[in-house]
C-alpha cells in the first residue's frame, strides 16, 4: 500500500458502515416507537427514579442509605 489517503479513506468508510449499522439505523428505527396501548402511567416514585436514571450526569455522593425521595 502506497497511499495514505486511500488507507485512511478506506478505514473511515469501514467505520462509517459500523456507525450506520450500530448507531444510525437503531436510532431511526426506535426513535418513533410509541408505547404499547394499555400501559398504566408511572407512579410518582417511579417518575422520580426515572428522572435519576435518565439524568445526563449521575451525582450520588450520600454515604448513608438514602431515604426515599432524598435523591
Amino acid at each position: 500500500m502506497k497511499s495514505e489517503i486511500r488507507l485512511i479513506s478506506g478505514a473511515m468508510v469501514m467505520l462509517a458502515l459500523s456507525t450506520s449499522a450500530l448507531v444510525v439505523l437503531p436510532y431511526m428505527q426506535v426513535r418513533d416507537t410509541p408505547p404499547l396501548p394499555g400501559l398504566k402511567p408511572y407512579s410518582s416514585a417511579e417518575l422520580r427514579g426515572r428522572a435519576v436514571y435518565i439524568a445526563p450526569t449521575i451525582r450520588r455522593t450520600c454515604l448513608a442509605p438514602c431515604e426515599p425521595g432524598q435523591i
Binding site: K2, G10, P26
Partner: protein, 548 residues
C-alpha cells in the same frame, strides 16, 4: 422498516465494500515475493537479529539460532539506513520516554485499584469506610486507569517510536505530542478524581464526565499530529502493515470518542447500542490495532526475517477494519434493541475468525523453525505469548457472541476473564515486550537485571493463567446456577467465592510482576545496577553520530 431487508442490505453492502477495498489496495496482492514486508530491514539486514533487551551473550545465542536455520549468509547492513534509523530513534527518544513514564504511573494506579476491587469481592467489609474505596468506584477507576492511562500511554509511545523508523524520517512536531500528553494526563487525573467522588456519565467505558473529556479529546488530537506530519513527510513510498494499523487507530479513536461522548445526542435504547458500539470498538479499533502493529514490527525485527505472507496481513487488516466495527451489539443479546442489530453483530463476531486466523497463520509461518529464538529474546517471549493470546481471546470472543453460550456466560465472571485475556494477555503483554525492546534504544542503556525481566514474565504469565482459569470455571458455574430456577440466587453468588479468591491470588502475582517491571524501569533510568561496557547494539554507531 423491514428488518430482513435492513439486515440483508447492510450485509451485502458491507461485503461488497470490503471486496472493493481489498481490490483497490490490490497492488501486488498476488505477488508472491512480498517486497513490502522487507521495508523494515535496511538493505542487507535480513538475517540479522535485533534484540536490545537481551544481554550480549543472549544476543549471540539469538543470532546463532538464526544462522543455523537460514540458508543465505547475513550480509553487512547498509550503514546509511542504519544511521537514518538511529536518527529516527533519537528524534523520538524524549517523547517516547515521557509516554512510558506516564504509562508506568498508570500501570501502578490501575494495578492497585484492580487488586483492591478483586479483594473486595470476597472481603466485602474491607476498606468500606470511604466512599471512593467502595467496589463500584474503585473498579471503575481500575477500568479507566487501564483504558485511558496504561494502554494508550504505552501504545501511543510505541507508535511514536515505530512510525519514524518505518517511514525512515525523524519525528516531526514532537512538541505537539508533549503538550497533548500533558493535557491527556491532566484530564485523566481529573476524570478519575470525579469518578472517585461519585460524579460520572453513567455509561461503562465512558464514565469520565464529558466536560473533562473535551480536554482529553484535545490532548488526543495533539498527540496524533506529529504522526500525521511524519506520515506526510515520509521518505519511503511503501507503507508497512504496522503503519496501516497505527495510522487507522489514530483516526478511528477520535471519531468513536466524539460520537459516543457528544452530550445529549443519545437516549434510551439507542444509547445502549452506542455504548457498546464504542466499548467494543475502542478495543477492536484502538488497542488491538496498536498491539497488532507492534507484533508486525517487533516479531520479524527480532528474528531478522520478514513477515512470510504480506497478502495475508492485508486480508487481516481489512477484515479487522470491517468485521470488528460491527460486533458491539453482541453485548446486548436479550436486551430491548432491534433484533436484526444483534444478529448482525453475532454474524460479524463469527466472521472475525477470518482476520484472526490470517494473523495467526502469518505469525506462525514467520516464526516457524526459529522458535528457539524465544529462549534468548525477552521481547519475543512477551510478544509471542501476546500474539497467541490474541488468537485465543478472539476465538473465545466469537464463541461468546453465540446466543447459546452468551445465555450462560454473560453477566458472570466468565466475561471478566475473557476481558483480561484480551487486555492483559494480548495487549499488555505485547506492550511489555515492545517496551523492553524500546527502552535500551532510547536511553542507550542496557536493562541492568535480566532476571527481573524473566521474573516479570513468569509472574505475569502465571498470574494471568490462575486469574483466567479461576474466573472462567467460576463464571461458568455461576451462569449455570443463575439459569437454574430451582436454585436460589444467593447460591450462584456463594459458589463463586473460592474462584474469586483464586482470582485475587492471580491478580496479586500480576501486580508483583508490575512492581518488578517498574522497579527495573527506574533502575535503568537512574543508572542503578551493574554497568556493562556495550549496552545496546549499534551503540558505536550512535556514538559516532553524536561526535559528528
Amino acid at each position: 422498516v423491514n428488518t430482513v431487508a435492513i439486515l440483508l442490505s447492510a450485509f451485502v453492502l458491507s461485503f461488497v465494500a470490503l471486496l472493493i477495498f481489498i481490490w483497490s489496495q490490490r497492488a501486488g496482492l498476488f505477488d508472491r515475493n512480498s517486497k513490502g514486508a522487507e521495508v523494515i530491514f535496511a538493505p542487507g539486514e535480513i538475517g540479522q537479529t535485533e534484540e536490545p533487551a537481551a544481554t550480549r551473550s543472549m544476543q549471540t545465542s539469538l543470532q546463532g539460532t538464526i544462522d543455523t536455520t537460514s540458508t543465505a549468509p547475513a550480509l553487512q547492513a547498509d550503514a546509511g539506513e542504519l544511521a537514518d534509523r538511529i536518527r529516527a530513534d533519537a528524534s523520538t527518544a524524549p517523547l517516547v520516554f515521557f509516554f512510558f513514564c506516564c504509562a508506568m504511573v498508570w500501570l501502578l494506579v490501575a494495578s492497585a485499584a484492580g487488586l483492591t476491587a478483586s479483594l473486595k469481592l470476597h472481603e466485602p467489609d474491607w476498606l468500606a469506610q470511604q466512599a471512593w474505596l467502595t467496589f463500584g468506584r474503585i473498579r471503575t477507576i481500575h477500568l479507566n486507569a487501564v483504558a485511558y492511562g496504561w494502554a494508550p500511554m504505552s501504545g501511543l509511545g510505541i507508535a511514536m517510536f515505530v512510525i519514524p523508523r518505518l517511514l525512515k524520517t525523524p519525528l516531526i512536531g514532537a512538541r505537539f505530542a508533549f503538550i497533548g500528553a500533558v493535557m491527556w494526563n491532566a484530564a485523566l487525573v481529573a476524570g478519575l478524581g470525579s469518578i472517585a467522588v461519585g460524579i460520572n456519565d453513567g455509561l461503562e467505558w465512558l464514565e469520565i464526565p464529558w466536560q473533562i473529556d473535551i480536554l482529553l479529546a484535545c490532548g488526543g488530537c495533539l498527540i496524533g499530529m506529529p504522526l500525521v506530519f511524519t506520515l506526510v513527510n515520509r521518505r519511503v513510498s511503501h507503507l508497512y502493515v504496522s503503519v496501516w494499523y497505527m495510522a487507522c487507530a489514530l483516526f478511528w479513536l477520535p471519531v468513536l470518542f466524539v460520537v459516543a461522548k457528544f452530550p445529549g445526542l443519545h437516549q434510551g435504547v439507542q444509547q445502549a447500542a452506542v455504548n457498546w458500539w464504542f466499548g467494543h470498538n475502542v478495543l477492536g479499533l484502538f488497542y488491538t490495532p496498536l498491539a497488532l502493529a507492534s507484533v508486525y514490527y517487533f516479531l520479524p525485527k527480532v528474528i531478522g526475517r520478514p513477515i512470510q505472507s504480506y497478502n495475508l496481513s492485508l486480508l487481516g487488516f481489512w477484515g479487522l477494519a470491517f468485521f470488528y466495527g460491527q460486533v458491539g451489539g453482541h453485548h446486548l443479546i436479550g436486551g430491548p434493541v432491534p433484533e436484526w442489530m444483534i444478529t448482525l453483530s453475532i454474524v460479524q463476531s463469527m466472521m472475525m475468525v477470518i482476520p484472526v486466523v490470517a494473523f495467526t497463520v502469518n505469525q506462525y509461518q514467520t516464526l516457524k523453525g526459529r522458535l528457539s529464538a524465544l529462549r534468548f529474546s525477552p521481547t519475543l517471549r512477551f510478544i509471542g505469548v501476546g500474539g497467541l493470546m490474541y488468537t485465543a481471546t478472539s476465538l473465545q470472543g466469537s464463541l461468546e457472541a453465540l446466543r447459546s453460550v452468551n445465555a450462560i456466560t454473560h453477566f458472570t465472571h466468565y466475561t471478566v476473564a475473557h476481558a483480561h485475556l484480551g487486555m492483559y494477555g494480548f495487549v499488555s503483554f505485547v506492550f511489555f515486550g515492545s517496551m523492553y525492546f524500546i527502552m535500551p534504544r532510547i536511553t542507550s542503556r542496557e536493562w541492568p537485571y535480566p532476571w527481573m525481566i524473566s521474573a516479570h514474565f513468569w509472574l505475569a504469565s502465571c498470574g494471568l493463567a490462575l486469574y483466567f482459569s479461576s474466573l472462567t470455571v467460576g463464571g461458568w458455574l455461576q451462569g449455570q446456577a443463575m439459569l437454574d430456577a430451582a436454585r436460589p440466587f444467593m447460591e450462584s453468588v456463594a459458589l463463586t467465592i473460592p474462584y474469586l479468591k483464586g482470582r485475587s491470588v492471580g491478580g496479586a502475582l500480576m501486580v508483583m510482576g508490575h512492581l518488578l517491571f517498574v522497579a527495573h524501569f527506574l533502575a535503568l533510568v537512574l543508572n542503578f545496577g551493574p554497568q556493562r561496557d556495550q549496552p545496546a547494539l549499534l551503540r558505536h554507531l550512535f556514538r559516532r553520530q553524536v561526535t559528528l
